[in-house]
């Protein structure tokens, strides 16, 4: 059972599978004019966002841009947010850290708070789907980071959510585990067809997984792009690279890594910088920096 916030429910949102390639018939999330302030600092400033049923939306933004704040609002964890937030009653969240109850074994964590009589079988089936049925009786502390996150995914999906909220779910995983998790998540989402909001700072991850990528900047959605690349996707495709460059520039990030001191920049570097439309300054006025796009962000 996902938690229910009175008055913010769309009863009509259904979990019916959406045929691939068609526009989703109904909305699973309707956010209008959402604001959130922390003291004097406005994080969300009249944000609007709609997510269709079964649609996979990735949200990109810098640290502190309000991505997680919005996700927490959708999860019903932030009572101080103002504006209108409509979400389905059946929601599930996967956080950056698995947040399993350490004193419950893996299966008990998956079926936590489920009251259906067949909960154990369903929980076991969910563990099988993430490849961890053999760990059903293990303590969470004995799992690796990737395994624990798969348990968290099973715990979310066993509830058949209409909306799956993913808060940088792969941020704490190593790069190899991450690649495997992408495939698993994509497969499970295709199977259960929840609407998904994936909050991430990893541009590649967003393009690989999502039907639509939105960029959060200055408290609003500054860019909303459909990802029309065919699936399965790979980083080496031309369309991927173009989309990536566009999103990185929207984020005001220049991806160039090297040993040399940037002050020794040659003519070639200057030419590349001229090609960057944001000219090293993003829309919030901050100076850009060179970075690997998926360098792990220190959480919260």
């Amino acid at each position: 059972m996902a938690s229910r916030l009175p008055g913010d429910v769309i009863p009509s949102a259904s979990n019916a599978p959406v045929p691939e390639g068609q526009a989703p018939p109904e909305a699973a999330v309707v956010v209008t004019g959402v604001r959130r302030r922390f003291g004097d600092h406005t994080v969300l400033d009249g944000l609007d966002l709609t997510i269709g049923a079964g649609e996979f939306v990735a949200m990109l933004g810098h640290s502190g841009s309000g991505k997680s704040t919005l996700l927490r609002a959708l999860a019903g964890l932030d009572p101080e947010v103002t504006g209108s937030v409509l979400v389905p009653p059946q929601r599930a969240v996967v956080f950056q850290h698995p947040r399993l109850l350490p004193w419950k074994r893996v299966l008990a964590n998956v079926i936590f708070n489920l009251r259906e009589p067949d909960a154990r079988q369903r929980g076991y089936a969910a563990l099988e789907e993430v490849g961890l049925a053999s760990h059903a009786r293990a303590w969470p502390a004995t799992l690796s980071g990737g395994e624990a996150q798969r348990v968290a995914l099973a715990r979310a999906l066993v509830r058949r959510p209409h909306l799956l909220l993913l808060d940088e779910p792969f941020g704490a995983l190593d790069a190899l585990t991450r690649i495997k998790m992408y495939a698993l998540l994509k497969r499970l989402c295709h199977r259960y067809r929840p609407a998904v909001l994936l909050v991430t700072h990893d541009v590649d991850e967003a393009i690989l997984l999502a039907d639509r990528v939105v960029v959060l900047q200055g408290g609003r959605i500054s860019l909303d792009l459909p990802v029309t690349l065919p699936t399965p996707r790979s980083r080496s495709e031309a369309g991927f690279t173009a989309l990536r460059a566009r999103l990185l520039s929207a984020l005001g990030v220049e991806e160039r890594v090297g040993d040399a001191d940037p002050r020794d920049a040659s003519q070639g570097d200057a030419a590349l910088q001229a090609a960057d439309p944001t000219d090293g300054v993003d829309s919030s006025g901050a100076r850009s920096w060179s970075a690997v796009a998926d360098s792990p962000e220190v959480s919260r």
């Binding site: 019903g76 956080f95 350490p102 004193w103 419950k104 708070n113 502390a141």
Partner: protein, 300 residues
């Protein structure tokens, strides 16, 4: 020591093969020696006795010292009796049933004190850990009580309750209750909010949160409190049994003091030591059973 393991590295081996780096970058200086930190030439530790037996080294050495200094006359037998005299006094006390009577009377007092103290301390800790009004009402009161030496209450307790069992048990229960309260309360307040949030997104009711998240999460703190409470309980007992009594270890101690029975006084020291060890073993047993989920917890 490790001389044999030190290997001198031929500097020619580390000469860079490629000349690419040499042109621009300063060449990294090679280490002059390499030492072996793992490998066949390092001696392996041999374990002669199991750990629990090795833990007895200290006590056994103490016994030997006592026995040898008594035998050589270094210890005055009138002031500190030799081991034989203590064993003799013990067998006498066992034979006429006195030892059992007194030890059992004390054990009963401690058990009742523990029962009421643990119950009371836990209930108060839960009330003030979970509710604002409980915290306002109880917490400062308990923190003040903590600062008051238990034994200063003895005269008042006698005035209020007479010289029966009640003031003795209450004295023990107060000490136990405060130790349990302080530790359990702070453990409840220290439960990881990320877990509470995760359980909330899984639809947990307030009762389910308390039962499945907050109480198990505060169990380690409770057990720390229990450990302190147990040792405190036997300490309180000494004071409790100075209140007019004809039964108990404390009575035996007072009588030995009046009759100058130094061997009984030493016996009582031994009894307290044995009881302390049993109490400690009991808490370790509980921890092993209840905290099996803890990472890195090894019950020894």
């Amino acid at each position: 020591m490790d001389r044999a393991a030190v290997t001198t590295l031929d500097s020619r081996v580390t000469t860079p093969v490629g000349s690419l780096a040499a042109s621009r970058e300063p060449r990294p200086s090679p280490p002059t020696t390499l030492i072996e930190v793992a490998g066949p030439s390092r001696p392996t530790k041999r374990v002669l006795l199991p750990r629990w037996l090795r833990k007895l080294y200290g006590p056994v050495a103490l016994l030997l010292l006592w026995w040898s200094t008594s035998a050589t006359g270094l210890l005055d037998p009138d002031l500190f009796p030799p081991p034989g005299a203590v064993v003799g006094a013990t067998t006498d006390l066992i034979a006429d049933g006195e030892l059992f009577l007194h030890v059992w009377a004390s054990i009963q007092r401690v058990l009742y004190g523990l029962l009421f103290g643990v119950l009371g301390g836990t209930v108060l800790a839960v009330l003030s850990g979970l509710t604002r009004i409980g915290e306002d009402l109880l917490d400062s009161t308990m923190q003040i009580l903590k600062a008051v030496p238990n034994y200063a209450l003895t005269p008042l307790l006698i005035m209020w309750m007479g010289i029966g069992e009640e003031p003795k048990i209450l004295l023990i229960a107060l000490g136990v209750g405060i130790a349990i309260y302080i530790n359990t309360y702070s453990a409840i307040r220290g439960v990881d909010n990320a877990l509470v949030e995760a359980a909330t997104t899984l639809g947990a009711s307030r009762a389910a949160l308390i039962w499945h998240v907050i109480l198990p999460g505060s169990l380690p703190g409770f057990l720390v409190g229990l450990r302190l409470a147990l040792s405190g309980a036997w300490l309180s007992l000494i004071f409790a049994e100075t209140i007019n009594t004809t039964e108990g270890i404390g009575y035996l101690m007072t009588r030995a003091q009046n009759l100058l029975q130094s061997e009984v006084s030493v016996l009582i020291l031994v009894i307290y030591a044995v009881i302390g060890m049993i109490s400690y073993a009991f808490v370790r047993f509980l921890e092993r059973r209840l905290l099996a989920w803890r990472p890195g917890f090894q019950g020894t």
